[in-house]
């Protein structure tokens, strides 16, 4: 690949990204970092866990993104009585012209490009686990057959942090499958004015489909090609190890409050997210600044805190922020 082609791909990546972001921003007020984070997950072939109180626009964000990206979208409302078959589909008995009966797989809502798993923590672990294979392997096994999922396959799960009664918290293994965990905060006064102006009038905002499926896949390939120098990669590794209390590189705060640190999948998320971030910033290389920019959403759900952290009301964001402040670059 020549340098001109590389420059063109970078420019195209940026152009497409800004198109999507601006189009989504016509519906979603504020939360630009969340929009960028969701886009980063999509382009890094990851899945995102959205956490926020009800009514801040989690579902609306995903719906808008699906409209903008011209992708097949399906929504699954997770409830306690939801069964795995309700997600991946079931085999039903059909009859052919000769009167012979046979089983035919009826795909579930998981067979879409964008899947919104709304309030994912309300389903039972058994149902939650049915999502695991699809998220990790990009395929679904039904009976004796494995059905591949169409690319891009992108799961956006939402979670309500307030109502914990009657919920099934996601196990660490499942949390680790999510590329990013993004937090949607309550909008400010100005943003709230904008939300009301847009949503309480007779005409709802309309978005255009600006990106085709192939363009998204091309952007995914571009993101993977961004080179990363060893010193920057070394920083990402040291950042991951700093979250491990048993490691010699472990930060003092991690030794005090963390039971288990981030997994190697977390380091992968750091690097891939940093690559997308570098492209968004018009860079052909990954900088430490890119790693820092994606560190919080990539690692916050991968730290398992201990009892002392609960007692001292210390969350993962505080620990990671301190580590990022004190970890030397070189």
């Amino acid at each position: 690949m020549s340098t001109i082609e590389v420059a063109q791909r970078i420019a195209q990546f940026q152009k497409n990204f800004h198109l999507v972001r601006d189009e989504v921003a016509r519906v979603i007020v504020g939360n630009d970092d969340v929009i960028a984070g969701v886009m980063t997950c999509l382009l890094a072939r990851g899945h995102v866990l959205l956490e926020g109180i009800p009514g801040v626009g989690k579902t609306k964000l995903v719906q808008t993104l699906a409209d903008v990206l011209h992708l097949k979208f399906s929504r699954i409302q997770f409830t306690p009585d939801l069964m795995p078959g309700d997600i991946i589909g079931t085999s039903i008995v059909r009859e052919d012209e000769g009167g012979r009966k046979y089983f035919e797989f009826q795909p579930g809502p998981i067979f879409a490009n964008m899947v919104l798993a709304d309030e994912v923590n309300r389903a039972t672990p058994k149902t939650q686990s049915s999502l695991l294979e699809a998220m990790q392997e990009n395929s679904v096994s039904a009976g004796k057959t494995t059905h591949p999922l169409e690319q891009p396959f992108f799961v956006l799960a939402t979670m309500n942090p307030l109502e914990m009664e009657g919920t099934y918290p996601l196990p660490e293994a499942q949390l680790d499958r999510f590329f990013f965990k993004l937090k949607m905060g309550f909008p400010g006064v100005d943003a709230l004015h904008e939300v009301l102006d847009r949503t309480t009038q007779s005409r709802d905002p309309h978005v255009e489909r600006v990106l085709r499926q192939g363009e998204i896949l091309e952007m995914r390939d571009t993101a993977r090609e961004v080179p990363i120098a060893r010193p920057v990669q070394d920083y990402a590794i040291r950042l991951t190890l700093a979250t491990h209390p048993e490691s010699e590189h472990g930060h003092e705060l991690a030794k005090k409050y963390v039971r288990f640190g981030a997994s190697p999948r977390g380091t992968q998320a750091l690097i891939l997210g940093a690559k997308v971030h570098a492209l968004i910033a018009d860079r052909a290389h990954v900088a430490i600044e890119d790693v820092k920019a994606v560190a919080l959403p990539a690692l916050r759900h991968r730290l398992l805190l201990n009892f002392e952290a609960e007692a001292d009301r210390v969350d993962a964001d505080a620990i990671l922020t301190r580590i990022l402040d004190q970890l030397p670059a070189g």
């Binding site: 590389v6 090609e225 120098a229 060893r230 860079r283 052909a284 900088a287 600044e289």
Partner: protein
């Protein structure tokens, strides 16, 4: 950081200088100035070494990235360039890095800016060096050991002269002083100061003798003034060159040869007699008179030369004494740890027996004196004349004379000394109680204020040797 270290070292050196007296340094400067200059030189050398040290290219790239805000562009380009498989992405990164390097300003990346703390430390160091450099020199900049050697030589010469005179006691004392000068730690500071003072007094006495020798020289010169044939002698004496004058006398005697021609007149006889050391007349033979007069002048010359050497050692001795006095002055006002001295066995206890209404208080007074010496005169003694820092003489002996006895009026008891009215009594209060002392029993004591105060001639006691030296050493004064 380094400048701060130099500053701290300089301050410590100043404190040491104030505590132990000025130490000689390099090039005639004080030790503090030398230390400060060496410290600054060390800082400069370290800075030069650090500047001249080559920096690895990876570190240079990282520094440039950080300072110029290039976001690891140079670091990434450098690393990608070293990879075996080139790619379009690596080339793009290299191109961007090259473009960034072209517009880099090294002075902006690594500005030569001195932190404010370093500026402050450097300014203080420069001020300190300047102040010390231009400060007055209180002592000559010669080494302390050389001064001690000069002083010891002079005192040793005095001891030898005392030995030649047969004054064994003076010789022993002077040899003791030599020992004290050569081994300063062998005596206590007070004893050391007393020894130096005794040596200075011996040199002063020697100066008085030298003044008598100069009188003899002047007499000879006066007697030969205007005499025909003795111009060379008088010229040498006017130059204060006594040895040349003696040689001139010998030459005159040898030139005249015949006894008839060598008969001097009365003035010459008086001069020759004045030059002779011995009391007996020089004899009638003119040649013999000239010869003996020449020998007398040579002896005078030897003594005057010796006096010159002694005076040179005396200046070193004065410098040593002044150094010791400054050290003692620096201790004034400080609370020294009390030196506990055992109570002499002959002194009765403070609560001694009351004999016929008169309390023998010698033991109490001695103990009070020891206490006062120990605490630096805080409490004062019963007479108010505390001598916690005696400079000269044996203070203990003075106190024994001073406090012979006292009469205490016991409360409620009828006094047997009705004649001792208020005017004839000293009243004093001390930590041990109140006391009254007969005025006639209190002898005047040596006090430091006496030493410092000028007498009727308006010259302070400690300045008197300087004035005396000025008038008794015409050769040295005239040669300056």
């Amino acid at each position: 950081m380094m400048l701060c270290a130099v500053l701290v070292v300089s301050v410590i050196a100043v404190l040491l200088d104030a505590r132990f007296g000025p130490w000689p340094g390099l090039f005639g400067t004080s030790f503090v100035v030398t230390l400060a200059v060496l410290g600054l030189l060390m800082v400069a050398v370290i800075a030069l070494v650090q500047i001249s040290r080559p920096i690895p290219v990876e570190i240079a790239a990282a520094v440039a990235d950080r300072e110029a805000g290039l976001r690891d562009l140079l670091t990434s380009a450098l690393w990608l360039r070293r990879q075996p498989v080139p790619s379009g992405w690596a080339e793009v990164v290299e191109q961007r890095a090259a473009a960034a390097v072209l517009v880099l300003d090294p002075r902006r990346i690594v500005p030569f800016a001195m932190p404010s703390a370093t500026k402050f430390a450097a300014g203080l160091a420069v001020l300190l060096v300047a102040a010390l450099w231009f400060s007055p020199r209180l002592v000559p900049a010669e080494p302390h050991a050389a001064m001690a050697a000069d002083a010891a030589t002079a005192v040793r010469e005095l001891a030898a002269e005392a030995g030649r005179r047969g004054d064994a006691e003076a010789q022993a004392r002077l040899e003791q002083i030599v020992d004290a000068i050569e081994r300063p730690g062998s005596l206590s500071p007070d004893e050391q100061r007393r020894a130096l003072a005794d040596a200075q007094a011996a040199i002063e006495r020697r100066n008085v003798e030298a003044a008598a020798d100069w009188d003899k020289v002047r007499q000879v010169a006066d007697a030969l003034q205007g005499r025909e044939g003795f111009e060379s002698v008088t010229a040498a004496l006017e130059r204060h060159d006594v040895r040349a004058a003696a040689q001139a006398l010998r030459d005159i005697a040898q030139a005249r040869g015949a006894p008839s021609a060598a008969v001097p007149d009365d003035g010459v006889k008086a001069a020759l007699q004045a030059a002779v050391e011995s009391e007996q007349p020089a004899g009638n033979d003119a040649i013999d008179q000239f010869r003996r007069a020449a020998e007398g002048l040579e002896q005078l010359a030897e003594r005057l030369d010796a006096q010159q050497r002694i005076n040179q050692g005396g200046r070193s001795l004065a410098a040593l004494a002044e150094s010791g006095a400054r050290e003692a002055m620096s201790d004034v006002g400080r609370f020294r740890p009390p030196k506990t001295a055992p109570n002499p066995a002959g002194n009765p206890a403070p609560d001694g027996s009351n004999i016929d209404g008169t309390m023998a208080r010698l033991g109490a007074l001695d103990e009070e004196r020891q206490f006062v010496k120990g605490v630096g005169g805080r409490a004062g003694d019963t007479s108010g004349d505390g001598d916690s820092e005696p400079l000269l003489g044996d203070a203990a002996a003075k106190i024994d004379v001073k406090y012979k006895r006292e009469t205490v009026e016991l409360p409620g008891a009828e006094s047997r000394h009705e004649e001792a009215d208020a005017e004839s009594m000293f009243y004093a209060a001390s930590r041990r109680g109140e006391s009254k002392v007969m005025a006639t029993d209190v002898a005047p004591v040596f006090r430091r204020v006496d030493e410092e105060s000028p007498g009727r001639e308006r010259i302070a006691l400690r300045h008197r040797p300087i004035v005396r030296n000025y008038f008794t050493q015409p050769r040295e004064q005239g040669s300056k």
